[in-house]
């Protein structure tokens, strides 16, 4: 036995550090996580002396669920492999969905184009040049039927990334499923329907905050009643992180958004147990492996405590935080794009080790364009290799008890609680957004990150280290402009062939309901059934509620 090994036992961490760190200079002055947290060279039991392992960490499947929602983890059921996809027309995207399902994807996730995200029809002049480019164009119930042609909506769970017009898109889905003989009660999947993070980060908002929050509430309450297997909201930190937030702020702002939605729904008479059971979350799986695992564990613990301590929820279903994870788009590089497969792989590993319920892995070409079929296939295969070959899905929460990961988990819990208090003191999330508080946090860390990259303090292979001028370009997806033009023309054509009387009556009913505080969903479903488009539904409400414009500042 060496002297070092003999000495290791009785020394405290601090003594060890003084002795060892004096021996050789380190590569850097400080080692930090991707979010800027300083990391010690060694963690020992001393570092978690303040953590109550039984109460804070416990066992998987038990409150506060730090170690996971299910006692047997992925041993009973793997995570859902849900690849976010959509480009061009509904028919082109349908072909990609069928391909993904044949290739082993176990869920679908719809990426809509910018006009759809902004509640504009493809033949709206404001949509010119953007139809089908960043996702699929869906304007009417007919488009929705085409999108899911040959896919059993009662069997395959479908996630929809849509926010400002989430209520309208959900109405189109309900109407489309109905035409196929699938009742709302049979629908499984998730609607993103998280407008607060749009105001905070992604900026695809339409209406001002108040009516926007009312739409979110209406969707949730309608869904609790009519489609109890559906998740009517996915409270999302993903976009907050992509916009430049740290792991800490991603966590805090997401949960603070969750608090705002729960308050809205409870104020409208929702039952806290039923509501809590149908909330879902969406986090980023970013590059700092350990900090991300800790973030997912901290999120579960914090949300369980919030649901029980703040809102009085008792059941495990209502206190448990379920989440989808997506690997980080912003971490991908246009330089040496093949390297992105490696980034995506270890990011996906952190999501699995953190207990994600479903996962999207990014394709290697996403810093350049929407993914080709080959790139999308490799992204899915990455998940399958992790699921079937890596051994990650065997033990439940294998990092539980790691002195380092438990320390990080506890720090993230404490920091996020402090941030949530700041939001509370600002008057809640809507008020905080109006004061520009979360936007400032994000702008600060986004700028700091970029400066660190430029100074070489943050190393990115292919960008500021290990550059290669021989970088070979890869093939990228081209959008079929002719197919998109035909789709635009068809949208106008369908508009002319509708029953004008029914369209008018549906829109009048929508306006009438919107003026009251009644739930707008039945009126929207009625619009969808009668061929009213997303642009028309949003247009009627734009006239009534106006549009939101963010105060400009840098």
């Amino acid at each position: 036995m060496s002297d070092q090994a003999k000495d290791a036992g009785p020394m405290t961490r601090a003594e060890w550090e003084v002795r060892v760190r004096g021996r050789a200079s380190e590569r850097r002055e400080t080692f930090r996580t991707a979010s800027g947290r300083e990391i010690a060279p060694l963690y020992t039991p001393d570092d978690i002396a303040d953590v109550d392992l039984a109460r804070e960490i416990g066992r998987p499947g038990e409150y506060p669920f730090t170690r996971g929602l299910y006692p047997q983890g992925y041993r009973t059921r793997l995570w859902t492999m849900r690849q976010f996809a959509g480009h061009g027309t509904p028919a082109e995207t349908n072909a990609r969905y069928r391909y993904l399902l044949e290739t082993g994807a176990t869920g679908l996730s719809v990426a809509f184009d910018l006009p759809t995200l902004m509640g504009r029809d493809p033949d709206d002049p404001a949509s010119a040049g953007e139809v089908g480019r960043c996702g699929v164009s869906v304007a009417s119930v007919d488009d929705m039927l085409e999108l899911f042609e040959g896919i059993d909506l009662g069997r395959i769970s479908v996630s929809m990334t849509i926010n400002a017009p989430a209520a309208m898109v959900f109405a189109l889905l309900v109407a489309a499923a109905e035409r196929r003989g699938v009742q709302p009660a049979a629908l499984t999947g998730t609607l993103q329907n998280d407008i607060l993070k749009e105001f905070i980060a992604q900026k695809e908002y339409i209406f001002p905050p108040e009516p926007s929050m009312r739409l979110v509430r209406d969707v949730i309450l309608f869904s609790l009643r009519e489609s109890p297997r559906w998740y009517p909201i996915s409270i999302s930190g993903y976009h907050i992180r992509e916009a430049g937030a740290t792991a800490r702020h991603e966590l805090a702002l997401t949960l603070a958004d969750g608090i705002a939605y729960v308050e809205r729904c409870l104020a409208a008479g929702a039952d806290v147990e039923a509501l809590g059971a149908r909330l879902s979350f969406f986090f980023n799986a970013h590059s700092d492996f350990f900090e991300e695992i800790a973030k997912f564990r901290a999120a579960r613990q914090l949300w369980a405590r919030i649901m029980r301590e703040r809102f009085g929820a008792q059941s495990d279903r209502a206190c448990g935080l379920r989440f989808h994870a997506q690997t980080s788009g912003v971490s991908l590089t246009a330089q040496q794009p093949l390297n992105n497969v490696v980034r995506t792989t270890f990011q996906a590993m952190s999501a699995v080790l953190g207990g994600a319920s479903s996962l999207h892995t990014n394709a290697l070409d996403e810093a350049l364009a929407l993914p080709t079929t080959a790139a999308a296939t490799l992204a899915l295969r990455t998940q399958q290799i992790l699921a079937y070959e890596s051994g990650l899905a065997g033990p439940v929460d294998p990092f539980g008890g790691s002195w380092f990961v438990e320390r990080l988990t506890r720090d993230l819990v404490d920091e996020a609680l402090a941030d949530i208090e700041v939001i509370d003191r600002a008057g809640g999330m809507v008020a905080a957004i109006e004061q520009g508080l979360p936007q400032r946090w994000i702008a600060e860390s986004a700028y700091r990150t970029q400066l660190e990259v430029e100074r070489g303090e943050r190393e990115i292979v292919g960008v500021n280290v290990c550059r290669d001028d021989r970088d070979v370009p890869i093939e990228t997806l081209e959008i079929d402009d002719e197919a998109v033009s035909r789709h635009v023309a068809r949208c106008s054509d369908r508009r002319r062939r509708r029953d004008a009387g029914r369209v008018k009556r549906s829109l009048d009913r929508l306006r009438d309901v919107a003026r009251t505080d009644d739930n707008v969903m039945p009126a929207l479903v009625d619009c969808a059934r009668n061929g009213v488009t997303i642009g028309e539904m949003c247009g009627a409400l734009r006239d009534l509620w106006g549009e939101f414009h963010e105060p400009v500042s840098i």
Partner: protein, 140 residues
């Protein structure tokens, strides 16, 4: 106003189209401001017409567009027309964002002075603007 070289370089940062991803636009705006330039950020969803009008009103030396949505071949020709219609041919127009290599020469043929693709250091953009604008300013 006497001697433009006495004044700061004036840059408009604009986000045209429907996209709301403004991380890049905001980071660049801040970097240019920290480099001593006068930066006007237009905010989201500006039409080419609104951007050209802002360039005229603000007496801009540079217009920087942030486009990530793939709509650049639709937006850029319209912006260049709007600038020309206002006699703003001297304004240096730059594009940053997700622009495929194949589109770079097409954008330059429209009169876009430079295209900055993902991973470009902010300092490179600062240096480019200094080289592009300052010689002109000194001769006025």
């Amino acid at each position: 106003m006497h001697g433009r070289f006495m004044t700061k370089t004036r840059v408009i940062i604009a986000k045209p189209g429907l996209d709301g991803h403004d991380r890049g636009a905001r980071v660049i705006a801040r970097a240019l401001r920290d480099a001593g330039m006068e930066v006007i950020y237009t905010g989201l969803r500006q039409t080419p017409e609104q951007i050209a009008a802002a360039a005229l009103q603000e007496d801009a030396d540079v217009v920087g567009l942030s486009i990530l949505s793939g709509a650049h071949m639709h937006i850029c020709p319209r912006l260049m027309d709007e600038l020309r219609a206002r006699g703003l041919d001297h304004v240096v127009v730059l594009v940053g964002g997700i622009i495929p290599d194949a589109d770079v020469p097409k954008l330059k043929a429209l009169g876009i002075r430079e295209v900055f693709q993902p991973g470009t250091p902010m300092q490179e953009i600062v240096d480019f603007i200094r080289r592009a604008v300052e010689p002109r300013a000194e001769t006025v």
